[in-house]
Point group: C2
Chain length 400, copies 2
């Protein structure tokens, strides 16, 4: 065991350099340009993705427990400021560039930082009379909502509006350093997927497969494995988002593992299918059509096309093969500091693709009582997209 641990760790190569001071300056500058466009005097950020993205603050602590809120305030004009629990000061100073910090001893149920945050927000120069909080679509606010309502009332007559879409737009086009992180974690997960037939065997429970899979990712250099869904069943699986069960895999099963693993604050998100023994003709056919649909999705992922175009290119392949689409609602999505970001490859999403965006290409198909999915991660460039994941084989991989 000792040797294995020692040998495996970081097979994926040296760590990717972390983000420079200049990168954060560019991000903040661009955030301020967007504030002007969105007519916001400032941003109040409370979520891991957005605080890490703009402040550079890296921690596990803040996001694992709801006991203490953490605030990063970026005014359109003036200095950014952190309002954080006293326990976090060392962690903040070690990881963030921002030195304008106020702290309080938390937990303090009567006042979790509000008497620091409110005057700070009241002092923001107010051209538009509007402050942005993370309240919009696909958001989760990192503070108690009752505290948010208290702050909102104290800021009146200033208005509160959403800054989720602004932050999503800001994060959508990745820098070279951001892309390097995603490419690194895609490579690590690709190696783990390639080794699945070595460490998964008939009789393993789904839970044990997920544990071995996540452990392998970590030993190859992933920082975290927040997501490892699994589906197994004779001739197919019926869900692509299931947590693992105690079900033991058997000859004749089809297996899918889908993983969202993290490195340096960035996610990969892709899946692979396996057959225990010879797959049925139907499984072979569906796998092939999905592989072709993925090809079509990748080909359509070019600057100027929309996210809806990427959906339609994939859907057309399924339609021509007479296969109904799954119930996922979209065929891929943006990827970065969250496992799912804007845009959605879905009908009606008219987001125009730009170089630097990272997308998943993720067709899914229904057959009988089953569903099957494929997924790759790509970087939009000026020309052909760059495949960040090692492309799945056209034929389903066999185990045993």
């Amino acid at each position: 065991m000792t040797n294995t641990h020692t040998k495996l760790t970081n097979l994926a190569g040296p760590e990717v350099p972390s983000f420079t001071q200049q990168e954060f300056e560019r991000r903040v500058e661009r955030a301020r340009e967007l504030m002007t466009l969105h007519r916001l005097d400032g941003l109040v950020l409370t979520s891991e993705a957005n605080i890490e993205y703009l402040a550079g603050f890296v921690t596990q602590f803040a996001w694992t427990t709801p006991s203490r809120p953490w605030y990063f305030v970026v005014p359109r004009i003036g200095d950014a400021a952190a309002v954080i629990p006293e326990i976090g000061i060392t962690n903040w100073l070690e990881t963030s560039w921002c030195r304008n910090i106020q702290t309080w001893p938390s937990p303090r149920p009567d006042d979790e930082g509000l008497t620091l945050l409110t005057p700070l927000l009241l002092g923001i120069p107010g051209q538009f009379g509007r402050i942005g909080f993370e309240i919009g679509p696909e958001s989760r606010m990192g503070m108690p909502v009752r505290d948010f309502l208290t702050v909102r009332d104290a800021l009146s007559p200033r208005q509160i509006d959403d800054c989720t879409l602004l932050m999503a737009e800001l994060r959508a086009v990745k820098s070279t350093a951001g892309t390097d992180h995603i490419r690194h974690i895609c490579r690590i997960a690709g190696e783990t997927f390639a080794h699945v037939p070595d460490f998964v065997k008939v009789g393993d429970s789904e839970r044990d497969i997920c544990r071995k899979f996540a452990a392998d990712l970590l030993l190859r250099g992933a920082d975290k494995v927040p997501y490892t869904s699994i589906g197994t069943g004779q001739g197919g699986y019926s869900s692509i988002i299931m947590g693992p069960t105690d079900r033991g895999v058997a000859a004749g099963d089809v297996l899918i593992i889908d993983t969202g693993a993290k490195y340096g604050g960035y996610f990969c998100d892709f899946d692979r299918n396996f057959s225990f023994g010879t797959p049925s003709d139907e499984v072979v056919r569906i796998h092939d059509v999905l592989w072709l649909a993925t090809e079509a999705g990748i080909a359509a992922a070019r600057p100027g096309n929309t996210a809806a175009d990427v959906f339609l290119a994939q859907a057309r392949v399924l339609e021509e093969a007479g296969i109904p689409v799954g119930n996922v609602g979209r065929f891929g999505h943006g990827l970065g500091k969250l496992i799912t970001e804007y845009p959605s490859n879905a009908p009606g999403d008219t987001t125009v693709l730009k170089p630097g965006m990272v997308l998943t290409i993720e067709p899914s198909a229904m057959y009988g009582d089953y569903i099957m999915a494929h997924e790759e991660d790509i970087l939009i460039t000026e020309g052909d997209p760059e495949l960040l994941t090692p492309r799945a084989s056209r034929e389903i991989t066999r185990i045993g």
Copy 2:
């Protein structure tokens, strides 16, 4: 590698039986009693801990991405109901007892389930005119706040109030099955800590130590390792909540690892300290005093005492040794479906301890520029508390 993966998985023994239908019925019944006390006509739950606790719905998908909200509604009178994305129906049916389900195709930015949720809430029999949402202290709401505000307005003149405290009270006293899950993950993490000297060596980076540590936990049977903080430094470390850095450990270093690992939806949360080579006299002394403070905290953790009493018992030991307390704000906390739950072992927390509560006992001390922490997990019983973690050795464990 194959052999290691195969051999290690589930050394901690067979899976703990999952929760019975009767357990969920008792939980819902008790929730309704508390609704009467809190004068609430119903609960609208959106967070992993609370939905999993009452509905039994187990998933990774819903909580890893903010793209789709998931709602579980428990009226004081009448049937509970799920309002969930269509993609989740199989997962819901496989894991939850609740068969009263409405779905919508998500993501659907214009209406993420609100046209289903709102009429459902308007139909709740209204004795008190108040509905509970997770908006109170130490809460994070699992839906976009703007959607919450829309629902709130639609429910007017009914009032919205907090149900976080109700749910915390409900979850605080664990059932036998709940305790079995916590005991299981504490045992697994105890085994991993015992093997740290086998797989950690001088020259390892903090990041690699965390990866090997988390992989070992998984291979022994943990489901997830959301939290593995680490501190290292010559003669001591300066933060107990840091994420790992690229720093390589050296002879003369002190190392702390603190982990929150999960099994079957329940957390352990404890730490261990290590010395690379002979520890300094000061490290030996602080470690000993903290060990004694932990003893005192455990001894004070008896029914009828308050969480503040547990803090004071620990603080007294540090005070008598002339050692200043750390900046953590408390000396332990409740533990269960969240890594930190009510109560806080802190001055002023007058929560009276009851059999079935699970607490961490977690003194921390400042010395020079350093901080040191100890942590154990215990179950409150009618008599002496049950130690759920294998007790740390009184002397700091040496590596090399």
